[in-house]
């Protein structure tokens, strides 16, 4: 491997790592911070990707179209979806055992897959990136790099920064962190914890949906896509340390490097390397890289 190829592979690692963080960020919020085991996270991601595909023509017809208008409409719908889901299902789960959370969110996976099948069918679809971002940059002699992938990385960094800021530097973030440590205490201080959690949950769903919409042009849209990302998302959150945003970011980047170079140097073991990494890190730090304070 010459230096140029090595550098391109480093870029690939970085880009894949950022994409992983983007996909896992909604889970960081719902599982990491609110402490709800949410297996339906992959479904929210899948819903986002299908929204990018199915909403585009509708948005084009009503608002004149545009990729970013579709994103906006998708996020608004996602907030509503998250709000209703929390009210109807998740609000009953905070005090329950983890196993009941697993059962219910697994049920939601089945429901969302079936609804998806009824609404859009089982075909594979592609989503075009917006014209503005559909160009490519030359990279070495034969390769080019799609501008859209750089845009995805940018979105991810902005999201990571935004989440970190809200949680560590604002009063809202402080209330959420307090709520995750001791619900009753926060409530007795006069904060409407139910409403607060409903909002945080809606935000988590919206971020997952946004990730699906942003990733759709690079990942394409297909049945079962949510289940494929679900496990890796949990790996990201667990390695990073439950509840830690910078931990999740670091974990995603680490996985990006291990996965990319694993595929090149150890193709036979590429499938397990990420899990070996997780096992090693948990042996070394049982709470993940960064334990939430």
């Amino acid at each position: 491997m010459d230096l140029a190829t090595f550098l391109i592979q480093c870029l690939n690692s970085l880009q894949y790592g950022l994409l992983l963080f983007l996909v896992a960020s909604g889970l960081t919020l719902i599982f990491g911070i609110m402490g709800v085991i949410n297996l339906a996270h992959g479904s929210f991601y899948m819903i986002g990707a299908y929204m990018a595909f199915a909403l585009a023509p509708i948005v084009a017809a009503t608002f004149g179209g545009g990729f970013f208008a579709t994103l906006l409409v998708g996020v608004v719908l996602a907030v509503l979806l998250g709000y209703v889901l929390e009210w109807a299902f998740f609000s009953f789960l905070y005090e329950r055992e983890h196993l009941q959370q697993v059962l219910m969110t697994y049920g939601l996976i089945l429901v969302f897959e079936e609804l998806r099948s009824l609404a859009v069918g089982d075909d594979v679809h592609g989503v075009q990136p917006p014209a503005l971002l559909s160009g490519t940059l030359p990279l070495g002699e034969v390769m080019t790099y799609p501008v859209y992938r750089l845009f995805v990385s940018g979105v991810c960094l902005a999201l990571a920064l935004g989440m970190w800021f809200v949680f560590t530097r604002t009063r809202l973030g402080m209330m959420i962190r307090a709520g995750s440590t001791n619900r009753e205490m926060v409530q007795s201080l006069g904060i409407d914890i139910k409403f607060l959690y409903r909002v945080v949950f809606a935000a988590g769903v919206a971020i997952a949906v946004l990730a699906g919409m942003v990733a759709a042009p690079v990942s394409s849209v297909y049945p079962g896509m949510g289940n494929q990302v679900l496990i890796i998302c949990f790996v990201v959150v667990v390695i990073g340390g439950i509840g830690s945003i910078r931990g999740a970011l670091l974990a995603a980047l680490l996985i990006g490097v291990v996965d990319t170079f694993g595929k090149v140097f150890l193709p036979q073991a590429a499938g397990v390397l990420v899990y070996v990494l997780m096992a090693l890190i948990l042996l070394w730090k049982p709470d993940g890289l960064f334990k939430a304070a």
Binding site: D123, V124, H125, M143, T144, P223, G224, M225, V264
Partner: protein, 384 residues
């Protein structure tokens, strides 16, 4: 009085005998109705039902009754699902499936119980290789076939050094092995075999490897969502312009709408194409479009042909499924009048068929030429 009872009893016996003769034949359809392969399962079932419908709902003089199980393309549940059909529903014939791992489990049960099994897609070489049996037939292809045909095509184009890339699982490995066998026999060299775990679709690292090793061409096996993403990523990485991409037909089947312009011009090999133009195919396509308001694809053809094979077998024994040897003999002798072009089955019960070279143009896999005439899978490991 006694006489009357006797007569009544006799009538009863006669009636029940007549019922056994005319009883419905139970066909167990074990296909994916959910998950990644759901669309393929639907196409196969539609094709199968189309042929049965054309015969007035009867094969070999017996009315057909369908019993369905969703196999979810999950090998872990496969044995349970087959046993449900055989033991609980008492099906006479098994039809399935898409996923090779599930099909292997079905083949094992079919081999043990002697139930007639028709495989309408799964290409695992082993189904008509080491697992072959007198009662197991395939109406589709072996993974080896399109790969082998493409090996000849790529060698003829004058390419010398080729890199292969696929998922690390049976179908991908077997397809690449078929390609390599033909390509290296013709003097070419596979310089690098790249793979990634199924169903991982993060190709960027391997595309960079391809760019770094600068081969004359790339051979690939991907299907479904992975095929869409691979073709798009290959084009986005700028490789489509400089390194020609060849693939087994699944790369561009049922995926063209999603791949868009990135698939234009790609050459693939398969036992079917969108514009074969023969009368049989035209009639089939028209009937299918009318019945299901959908364009048929290769999977629909395979389902249709599975029903044809069953029809031929049952006709030879007048619907008596217990005569297994006669059914097998009839299918072995038959020339199956398929929309893809007539084919017969090999000694190991895999289609001996023309493999077509197709090129993507205007969202269709247009026929270019016959890549390999009457190509028979070698059936390695089969002791029939």
């Amino acid at each position: 009085m006694k006489l009357k009872t006797l007569a009544f009893a006799a009538a009863l016996v006669a009636a029940s005998a007549a019922q056994a003769q005319g009883a419905k034949l139970k066909v167990g359809l074990m296909l994916p109705a959910t998950g990644t392969y759901a669309a393929l399962g639907t196409a196969i079932e539609n094709g199968f039902r189309l042929y049965v419908g054309e015969q007035g709902g009867k094969l070999g003089g017996r009315e057909i009754e369908f019993v369905k199980v969703d196999d979810e393309s999950d090998p872990a549940k496969a044995t349970d699902n087959v046993n449900k059909l055989i033991k609980r529903d008492n099906v006479d014939v098994l039809v399935g499936t898409v996923h090779s791992g599930v099909a292997m489990a079905m083949a094992k049960v079919a081999k043990d119980t002697g139930t007639l099994l028709l495989v309408p897609n799964a290409g695992a070489d082993a189904v008509t290789g080491p697992m072959c049996a007198p009662n197991i037939f395939r109406s589709s292809f072996s993974n080896w076939q399109p790969g082998y045909a493409m090996g000849e095509v790529v060698a003829k184009k004058g390419h010398k050094n080729v890199v292969t890339i696929t998922w690390k699982y049976a179908a991908g490995d077997e397809s690449v092995r078929g390609f390599k066998e033909a390509f290296e026999k013709a003097g070419g060299k596979v310089v690098k075999e790249l793979s990634l775990p199924f169903p991982n679709v993060e190709f960027q690292a391997l595309l960079t490897e391809i760019a770094a090793s600068k081969p004359d061409a790339v051979y690939t096996f991907f299907a479904g969502g992975g095929a869409v993403k691979f073709v798009k990523d290959y084009a986005a990485a700028g490789l489509k312009k400089s390194i020609p991409l060849y693939g087994a037909g699944f790369l561009t089947d049922g995926t063209l709408e999603a791949q868009g312009a990135d698939a234009d011009g790609l050459l693939t090999t398969l036992h079917y194409a969108d514009s074969l133009g023969n009368a049989r195919d035209n009639a089939f396509r028209l009937a299918y479009a009318k019945a299901f308001k959908l364009q048929p694809d290769v999977y629909a053809v395979q389902g249709y042909d599975a029903a044809q094979m069953l029809g031929i077998g049952l006709a030879a024994v007048k619907g008596d499924v217990s005569k297994k040897a006669e059914i097998a003999a009839a299918i072995e002798k038959a020339k199956i009048d398929s929309p893809r072009g007539a084919f017969s089955v090999s000694k190991s019960h895999n289609p001996v068929q023309d493999i077509y070279l197709r090129q993507v143009s205007g969202k269709e896999n247009k026929l270019v030429s016959v890549a390999s005439k009457s190509l028979a899978d070698p059936g390695r490991g089969c002791k029939l």
